[in-house]
């Protein structure tokens, strides 16, 4: 059974419904990311789990118990804020010790655990400083230490790295992942950064307009999107309207494509990434052929990107620099059959 379960959760403010009948399961020890653009409901979901707000309807089960109305301070969930939310009037030591003090731990126990946790996040020697004397990355680690020291049943993180610079972000996400795996903490991580999300997660839930569009492992999300929204989201730029035919699919102009994925029936949408389309001079004999004319070529450093006008719409193709085509040239495209995704 899943450790955490959201059942038919509807939530929002006043008449403004943000989550609609949301269902979600998280297994013990896994790190699940909620990914989506702003306003998709990911932060609302996280805050609801944390106990900052209550749903309008639906149930939240944790470890088999109904947590829907358990007050915030009784949940024993660690929360890492985007703003870090460190207590500005307390030293780093007192910040980290706060949760233990609220649990009435003995002072020797507090001393030991705080120092141990500060060492874990590489902040030994900073315990007498105040938050404003620390850099962004250090504050972030204090926030993490403060949430970890209470040995939370669940660790919730709300875009914890978005206020850091790019280099530090990469470093910190590895740190977070290491700590999470070391202690086997179940964690939920909210982000709008796809790369960060794929790098850190066991599972990813992609949210759109208050519902979860797909919940899967990062590689399945990346390679096998379920919906057009997700395909767009993870970088599929070419979409084709196809109709099923004997042994494959036909486009509106009669062109024929084979796809390795199991055959589907009727009218459907297919998608493919720019780098999975081969480009060749016009008339080259290639499988899954589609002819077109180059409209724009864009130099991207390592590769060239071509926008190609075809009978099935504009295709974005990414190719290496072995042969460079120029706008106005007619070309033949080849869509890799094992890379065509049927939606």
């Amino acid at each position: 059974m899943a450790l955490l379960e959201l059942q038919d959760i509807t939530a929002g403010y006043d008449k403004n419904v943000i989550l609609k009948n949301l269902n979600l399961q998280v297994e013990k020890g896994e790190l699940l990311s909620l990914l989506g653009s702003s306003g998709c409901g990911k932060t609302t979901t996280l805050r609801l789990i944390a106990g900052f707000s209550e749903p309008m309807s639906g149930k939240f089960l944790f470890d088999g118990k109904d947590y829907t109305h358990v007050p915030l301070h009784k949940r024993n969930f660690g929360f890492v804020f985007q703003s870090y939310a460190l207590f500005p009037h307390m030293t780093i030591f007192d910040n980290v010790a706060f949760g233990l003090r609220m649990r009435k731990c003995s002072s020797s126990e507090i001393q030991n655990q705080v120092m141990e946790t500060l060492e874990l996040v590489d902040l030994k020697g900073y315990e007498k400083r105040f938050p404003k004397e620390l850099s962004g990355g250090q504050r972030q680690r204090v926030a993490l230490a403060r949430a970890l020291v209470i040995k939370p049943d669940l660790l919730l993180m709300d875009e914890p790295l978005s206020n850091l610079d790019a280099k530090l972000r990469v470093k910190m996400r590895v740190e977070i992942r290491k700590l999470q795996q070391k202690f086997g903490i179940t964690a939920i991580y909210v982000t709008h950064d796809q790369e960060e999300c794929f790098a850190i997660s066991d599972k990813v839930a992609i949210m759109n307009q208050g519902i979860i569009e797909q919940l899967d492992t990062p590689d399945r999300i990346y390679n096998r999107p379920n919906t057009e929204f997700i395909a767009h989201f993870v970088g599929f730029e070419n979409f084709l309207d196809l109709t099923s035919a004997e042994g494959g699919y036909t486009g509106a102009d009669g062109s024929f494509f084979r796809a390795d994925a199991p055959q589907k029936q009727g009218r459907l949408k297919a998608c493919i990434r720019p780098e999975d389309i081969q480009i060749a001079p016009l008339g080259t004999d290639v499988p899954n052929r589609l002819d077109g004319q180059i409209m724009v070529e864009t130099f991207l450093g390592k590769r060239y990107q071509y926008n190609v006008k075809t009978a099935l719409g504009e295709m974005v193709v990414s190719a290496d620099q072995e042969h460079i085509y120029h706008s106005g040239e007619s070309v033949t495209l080849s869509l890799a059959s094992n890379k065509i995704i049927l939606l």
């Binding site: 944390a50 106990g51 900052f52 915030l72 301070h73 009784k74 949940r75 024993n76 969930f77 660690g78 929360f79 804020f81 703003s83 939310a85 460190l86 207590f87 500005p88 009037h89 706060f98 949760g99 609220m102 649990r103 105040f130 404003k132 403060r146 949430a147 209470i150």
Partner: protein, 277 residues
């Protein structure tokens, strides 16, 4: 900054500076200066010595200090919850703040007269107390320290509330949530997060209220009796009724010293509660 801008800047602050120097610093200096010299022009501390020897002045001094401190404490106690509500929970912040400062729109004279009507032997307060049976005959709450304290509180509570709201509004909601997620109850969050972070507002408010109470003249004059004089009314008495400007100056200097001492005392206490301010 270039030279021209600097010159213009100086020209702009000059009128204000001149005003402060000639109408405040110079008179203040003269006032303090004269209290240290006797009529013959030789230096002496006798004025102060005699003043503090007099039982009458001792009573006035203690009473002023006591009433101001009590009023400040009550303003803090009353102001804190209302400010917190207005700053954090209210949907009608603007309206409630207008209500809070509304008493300041009328003059202290009018307000004091209203209190005379309310607190008198046949006033609403006494009638109400007798109706519900808390007392059988009217209690005396006018022309004494009680009515003065009530007057002070009404006069200066808005200052406390405004100072507190300004600070409380800037406490991020995330801090309360963070405290809660770490296991703090509402009360614990208040005690460990909201209260210490509100200290700067409490300091500003307390200093304003305390100095206000200590220096207020109208309220103690109208709501106090002849046996409950305070420093401000005593200054008037010395200067206007007795024509003794030296004595009046001495009381004024004492008042300034007390204000400065208590203000820094309040600052000291608050620094203990919140070391980062």
């Amino acid at each position: 900054m270039n030279k021209k801008a600097l010159t213009i800047g100086w020209l702009m602050v000059l009128p204000g500076c001149l005003f402060v120097v000639f109408f405040m610093l110079v008179p203040l200096f003269l006032l303090v200066f004269r209290t240290f010299f006797d009529e013959g022009g030789s230096f002496t501390l006798n004025g102060y010595w005699e003043m503090f020897q007099s039982t009458y002045f001792q009573q006035v001094f203690v009473r002023s200090l006591k009433l101001s401190l009590i009023s400040t404490a009550i303003c803090a106690l009353l102001g804190f919850p209302s400010s917190y509500y207005i700053a954090k929970y209210s949907r009608h912040k603007g309206m409630l703040m207008a209500f809070a400062v509304f008493p300041m729109f009328t003059s202290p004279v009018i307000r004091s007269f209203s209190w005379i009507v309310l607190l008198g032997k046949k006033g609403i307060v006494n009638s109400a107390l007798m109706t519900i049976g808390l007392t059988s005959k009217p209690i005396s709450i006018l022309y004494n320290e009680v009515s003065m304290t009530i007057g002070f509180i009404q006069l200066f509570l808005p200052l406390m509330i405004l100072s507190l709201i300004g600070v409380m509004e800037n406490i991020p909601e995330d801090l309360n949530l963070a405290a809660g997620s770490l296991g703090a109850t509402k009360l614990g969050t208040f005690r460990h997060v909201v209260l210490p972070l509100s200290i700067p507002g409490l300091v500003t408010g307390s200093v304003l209220v305390f100095t206000g109470c200590l220096t207020a003249y109208t309220t103690p004059q109208l709501l106090g009796g002849t046996d409950t004089r305070v420093l401000a009314t005593v200054i008037y008495q010395y200067a206007m009724s007795l024509g003794d400007w030296t004595q009046a100056s001495i009381v004024a200097v004492v008042m300034i010293v007390v204000t400065v001492c208590v203000s820094s005392g309040i600052n000291g206490i608050s620094r203990r509660l919140n070391p980062t301010i």
